[in-house]
Symmetry: C2
Subunit: 402 residues, 2 copies
């Protein structure tokens, strides 16, 4: 794990100074599973947020954007519900999201414009406002330093496990922490951010400085994963920095590079867990494309391999069907000459410069699969993570009813 | 069926005057299933051929192209094998394909440059030359007017049924015939031609006149289907016209429009059968996008819907999950405003101008599913055909071993 560079601390988002969380069941999920999460910060957070590029967007996204615009990117509280996406619900969906934000703000005594709402679940269904509003007093009262896991569990839909993590960075200027939680199981093909990922830090950094760092990290982590090449309309990634560690990031303070690296490590691990716990996923696949002509071509080829149903079903079947991998990379329009390409699976070369190479059969058997394509056509490289395509994936998505 | 306009006649490609065919088992497929096909014409055929745009191409494709170049688009015999794609086999693959063409030419007594070879199957495996060459004398001897079905069966890989059809067009200038056979089950996402489709006609038309007609037809039929959005490296579509009906197409002869329409009807039905008999397909889905801003955007949205794993698994589950359909159309970069869009499934409006509409639940239950998206944003439209994504698809492709 890349995050092994940094000290892991318990609590998920609550590992961060001044952050409390809660998760409870308000009546949307079956089996009394938590379905409503709240995260709050004692101090205002400078915030950087990114949203799906799908033209279809959840109603919460316009509310989220609007409040951050009014607050000049300051936030103190975040409500998240699972089960209902509040997407394609028209103006009513926007009104519903605003009502929830305002209720939370009033109950916590924080400014309304600093209270945000995100949602995930089935498209086209209205939020059950009575259930959610009835649960808000208990949810606000439950905020605590031990609520991180409940919150991470509450934002799950078909995720096989909650995704929650906190690390501590001990810089020469004192220690600071970054904690995050994420949700994503299907409809994972991010092109801006992925499903839901919320990261809190007690480092002190302005929203203006935070934004480009968070964007670079997002492009190297959440935007590099694919489960099923369907892009969610509700994707949101936000980083909240409350400054309570009193460790300032930047000149005279802790190094920006270290902060960015730590944030990347945290987001990389949340991304990897999204794939690992993706719908029906039995194997995590890392795809590296090297020596491509341009960075865009490297990314396109890596994604073409990651998205190929035939590659993914072969991996599910433990079958090193390298022809499908090569075919996917060669069909995406990138400038690749198969006569120069070399393909390696789990460290074994299976195809070199236009011809198959004999290899030991026991590759692609493990829980982790590693595919490397050397295009021998330039200097650019790209990496992607994906999962296999299993019978369970089809079952989940054939049965996940409207 | 669109082909009901025209009289169906038996025999597949052999329904065409002067065309004979054969199919037999040479030892590649299990269970003595035919795996080697030969089609021959008594007279030279003016030929139009189109190939995959995948950068990875089967060795037979360079041989096919080269021979047609030398013969100035004249062909008399076509050998096709299933099971082994002869792709990614380097120079040896090219030599193998040439050897087979030359052997067939010698045995049939036709010019070598007028003898073509196509192959389909697993990528990266060499043709079993001994088995194939040993079978060639029997194959050539078996050519007959009743061999069309055997040939269509021999080119199948995981296809659930052979695809073979012949129609007769009774023009005022006399009758002529068009017969075709096709192969395609997975890796169906054509971008030039699809898997293998070979059409013969006894109409008289020059290769120069035939080419643009065949290209237009291909773009409206084979290029409109998708099974799993993986593009095969071996796709080839060719039309062979031997002129033996003595019905000339064009000024003074039978109308070009009628010929083009009949060819389109035939290719549309072969395309539809490819989806119907696609890997694990339980439902054939027709997707129509209307009033899009540009034809390219209409096509992109139709294909985004056709390719969405989540749409396809929902259809498999008989679930009218229209949110997934709308989300797919809105995520492909096309200029669509969901607040203006209307979505209809099996004739029922489920979403109109930004808001869900209540509908009768018993839609999407049949073997045929019809999806129509009205973007209300322009004049362009597009149509696509796809299948659902079933548990059987995953099983077939996880077990279809290298």
């Amino acid at each position: 794990m890349a995050t092994q560079k940094y000290k892991r601390i318990p609590g998920g988002v609550c590992g961060v100074t001044g952050v409390t969380a809660a998760g409870l069941h308000c009546g949307m999920k079956a089996n009394n599973e938590p379905d409503l999460a709240l995260v709050a910060s004692e101090a205002e957070c400078n915030t950087a947020a990114f949203y799906t590029t799908n033209r279809l967007q959840g109603a919460h996204i316009s509310v989220f954007k609007n409040r951050l615009r009014i607050s000049r990117n300051n936030a103190m509280a975040l409500l998240v519900n699972a089960k209902v996406a509040n997407c394609s619900t028209g103006e009513q969906g926007v009104r519903d999201s605003n009502v929830l934000c305002n209720r939370v703000a009033a109950q916590l005594g924080v400014p309304a414009e600093q209270t945000l709402h995100a949602s995930t679940g089935v498209i086209g269904r209205r939020l059950p406002m009575d259930k959610i509003t009835a649960a808000l007093p208990a949810l606000c009262a439950a905020l605590s330093k031990s609520g991180g896991e409940d919150a991470a569990r509450a934002i799950m839909t078909t995720d096989a496990a909650p995704k929650s993590l906190c690390i501590q960075i001990g810089s020469g200027k004192g220690a600071y922490r970054i904690g995050g939680m994420a949700k994503g199981a299907g409809m994972i093909h991010p092109n801006m951010a992925t499903m839901l990922a919320f990261v809190f830090t007690d480092a002190a950094i302005s929203a203006r400085a935070l934004n480009p760092i968070a964007r670079r990290v997002m492009n190297k982590t959440f935007n590099c994963i694919s489960v099923d090449n369907d892009m969610s309309p509700n994707d949101t990634f936000a980083v909240f920095a409350n400054g309570l560690s009193r460790v300032r990031i930047g000149p005279g303070g802790a190094p920006v590079e270290e902060f960015e690296d730590a944030l990347e490590c945290l987001c990389a691990e949340l991304s990897r867990q999204m794939v690992l716990y993706g719908e029906g996923v039995t194997k995590v696949v890392t795809i590296e494309v090297e020596r491509a002509r341009t960075p865009a071509q490297a990314r396109t080829m890596a994604m073409a391999i990651a998205d190929s149903q035939l590659v993914k079903t072969a991996i599910f079947g433990n079958d090193p069907n390298w022809g499908r991998i090569l075919s996917a990379a060669c069909s995406c329009g990138a400038d690749i000459d198969p006569a120069r390409a070399t393909l390696t699976i789990d460290g074994q070369t299976v195809f070199a410069r236009g011809e198959p190479v004999s290899y030991r059969r026991r590759i692609m058997q493990g829980k982790e699969v590693h595919i490397r394509l050397d295009a021998d056509n330039g200097q650019a490289s790209a990496q992607r993570w994906t999962g296999d395509l299993s019978i369970e994936y089809v079952k989940i998505n054939a049965e996940y009813t409207t």
